[in-house]
Symmetry: C2
Subunit: 509 residues, 2 copies
């Protein structure tokens, strides 16, 4: 074995591990020296079939205790991965991790922090990033003259897992093991591709709808959106119930770049993409679509590229910040999408929880960490959604958009008139903007003193109070009203009375 | 002119009217006899270029007063269309209407009702429905053995209108003329294609996000979803800022049917579609994608088919219910999508407002209707959204999903314990379901009397009350609590305390 051959171990003998075995055999700078399974016979069978000569272990820990192993590949179910990434880092092994990397964003952060603290590389197994085709596509997207600036990405990844009876036993839809379901297993690639296209900018906000879930709340089919600065957007759909599809499209003002097989190439030795330009003919009789570029990249095996890349890092010792950074970013995007879908809150700003107080510190080579991690199997998508419920940037709305369900209302309004005293120390003011006017209940000296005809007010976090079926606004102890420093230049709409619409209650069927 | 040649008139000389002129020239059973513009010179020029021999009128009404005209084509901007459809119906002309047919669902209903009352056919100009390719695609989707049952549709329609300076003067983004923006102009086709694929079933709910809007609130880029019974779904994206694209895909559990040019064929004499079947090779090294069917339909001109179809109806007098029905359905879907996007309410159930009390009855041949319709130019997408804010079917949630923003909460819970009296005639009960427990403030005899340890309660329309930053639930005068007739068989989760999470206020930045 040459000095430049890195020794890998595989923890778990899932189907996907066979593919990495092929990559290890093909790679110029790596070899598989050990395979662990909870069942040693399984490890031995896997070795006989995939990497003859490697050592078989009957427990994951034994493999980590093997000093020869420099890099471990961890294809375990998502719910089990935190524990073994932390233990691998503790043993100073570089880590190639399957995706979604963790059951929630907090766990993902612990993983990459543990690897960083241990001085080992963390990388997730999103292979397409290392395909030569991806580099060729980047060159096209950077060709301003041909393409213009990309402003949209759309992608799909679907697999027909079968019917629901089958789903019941399938790990991909087990809430504890794979809480993100199709969003984690398939959406991970779509989210990553979208981030790649926009050069890993953080999206300003994301939204997601689960179109179908298991009875346990794991998404089976979903549609998601990402919004980036300057009106650039990405959309994707994923499903475990649809035919095998894995296409992606990057769109600019002039052209569309399309790849039919962005996750895993359709052919072993050639990977293609196409750039088309649509137009409209005279009298709109046809919308022609011209192929302006068609590229075919030959002989590149992305699975092998991943193994070679991580082995190169292991040899040089030059850790790359890029890989853990994009892993966290992708997990953060998915996590915010779970929040959007579960809470039906529309747009959600993806971010890490800054005030998190983890109950258990990530081991940084201090403890042995033998016991089962307390957090390793706990995080479900629902808990994740809980954690992600963070204050959003204040969004100013308009009076015309207020309805019985409005809350956290931020407004810039003018006081049109003072209607009447509603009681001691309170009054009703008519306030409006260009979209309409509404009755505002002002309570207490701090509020009532600001209610002067013609005053410009900034109202924050107001809520709706229904009075006999009509909408009123109140500021209350959770909100705030201030006199604006600048005069608003809109003309209040005095025709559209928002407090004049009678709403019905939700019927008690 | 043969007896079997139907005489058409065109109201307005928009670019799209040139295309219909070509269709009228090609059609075996139609001819263009009159063209009207507010500027008679324009009408004359249009006739010279497109349909020599037709009569030119300097007002739309003059054309409608021409007894020779049997069918009118109305390509006017959406905001103006109601008035002229009503006037055309009054004059007993069959109507071919551009899309989106109206500025809001109420106007659309008036149009089709007026045509029905007048005994004339209403049809919108969604040409692809009459393409022979569409029939051929239906045959594939019905091939259960090849395709399985379709469960998903995805489509895109985008055009690069240019930059925002250009948008300012473009009618497509004028809020009064085209309130639905890209959703109406482009999304109309995607929605219709989705409905077609699922044989015009009403979707159970729809959702939409506007990814970019003009300053005036007209959608420029959007992503939308439709949910049909049994977990079948459709998703589409539209934009005025992206390259020309117009593809659609229908997906089943086995195959995907793809058409690159579903709105307007890319080539004049041949229209194609493809059916592919993806799979996974040994060790997941590749995801092959096999073309199982490729069809090319030759010589069909969909624009001509539309003219011939409506002319056939005019000749036979056998009105077809199908066309107004799908027009209303499509408008209803778009209208619900506007509600979803503007109100950020996630899923919305598309429906017509049953309690609508129109201020002005659709003329049914009673009045002359000479004056400008009061409603013709009024309906904006925002008003439409307002109208569509109707009570939804009660949706039962789980305790674990409650957060500070929750309202209209419906729950099935067990009383775990009575914590303490909160005051006279009120108490705090701990109630829970399988997902967690929460503090419920019960007020008044009607509520407190039901709070017995172990009781099964059905709570409707409860709201969240924040007490010192912690979530509590209250029923209040707008809600209702009842003792369940059946005992719930879940085991309450006594570990997850929803009232134990401290929330921060939205920061007053």
């Amino acid at each position: 074995m040459a000095e430049s051959t890195v020794r890998w171990g595989i923890i778990g003998t899932a189907g996907i591990a066979e593919k990495v075995s092929v990559a290890l055999a093909e790679a110029s700078n790596a070899t598989c020296v050990a395979v662990a399974s909870r069942d040693k016979d399984k490890a031995e069978k896997f070795i006989a079939d995939n990497c003859p000569g490697a050592r078989a272990y009957g427990s994951y820990q034994e493999l980590l205790d093997d000093d020869e192993v420099q890099v471990v590949y961890i294809p375990l179910p998502t719910g089990l991965r935190l524990e073994w990434v932390l233990k691998a880092a503790e043993k100073k092994k570089h880590v190639l991790c399957e995706k979604p990397i963790a059951a929630n964003l907090g766990d993902a952060r612990k993983m990459v922090d543990a690897c960083q603290a241990a001085g080992v590389q963390f990388m997730d197994n999103t292979m397409f990033l290392l395909h030569e085709r991806t580099t060729a596509m980047r060159a096209v997207l950077d060709d301003e003259e041909l393409f213009g600036t990309p402003n949209h990405v759309i992608s799909t990844f679907s697999l027909p897992l079968g019917n629901f009876d089958f789903f019941k036993d399938n790990i991909r839809l087990n809430r504890n093991m794979e809480p993100y379901g199709a969003l984690g297993d398939l959406g991970w690639y779509c989210a990553r591709f979208s981030l790649w296209a926009f050069r890993y900018e953080d999206p300003e906000s994301v939204s997601c709808e689960f179109l179908e879930e298991t009875s346990d709340g794991v998404p089976v089919t979903l549609a998601a959106n990402l919004m980036f600065k300057g009106g650039r957007t990405a959309s994707f759909t994923c499903s475990f119930k649809q035919a095998w599809r894995q296409w992606a499209e990057v769109v600019g003002p002039k052209c569309a770049l399309r790849v039919e097989d962005f996750v895993i190439p359709a052919e072993i030795n050639v990977s293609k993409f196409t750039v088309t330009r649509g137009s409209v003919s005279a009298k709109a009789l046809t919308f022609p679509n011209e192929v302006v570029k068609e590229e075919a990249i030959k002989g590149c095996q992305q699975h092998t590229k991943v193994v070679e890349k991580l082995s190169d890092i292991a040899i040089s010792g030059n850790l790359e910040e890029f890989w853990p950074k994009v892993a966290i970013q992708t997990q953060m995007v998915l996590s915010a999408m779970v929040t959007s879908a579960r809470r039906q809150t529309g747009w959600v700003q993806p971010r890490e929880r800054t005030k998190a107080k983890p109950k258990e510190e990530a081991p940084k080579g201090k403890g042995k960490g033998k016991g089962k991690s307390k957090n390793g199997e706990k995080g479900t998508a629902s808990e994740e959604a809980e954690k992600q419920f963070l204050p959003k940037k204040p969004h100013f709305t308009r009076v015309g958009a207020i309805n019985p369900g409005s809350s956290g209302v931020n407004l810039e309004v003018k006081v049109l008139s003072i209607q009447k005293a509603a009681g001691e120390d309170s009054l009703i003011a008519i306030v409006g903007d260009a979209s309409g006017f509404i009755k505002l209940i002002a309570q207490g000296e701090a509020e009532t003193s600001k209610m002067k005809e013609g005053a410009d007010l900034v109202i924050r976090n107001a809520s709706v109070k229904m009075m006999k079926g009509f909408v009123h606004l109140q500021v209350g102890k959770w909100g705030k009203v201030e006199t604006s420093k600048e005069e608003f230049n809109f003309v209040p709409n005095e025709k559209t009375n928002i407090s004049d619409t009678e709403y019905e209650l939700v019927p008690n069927k």
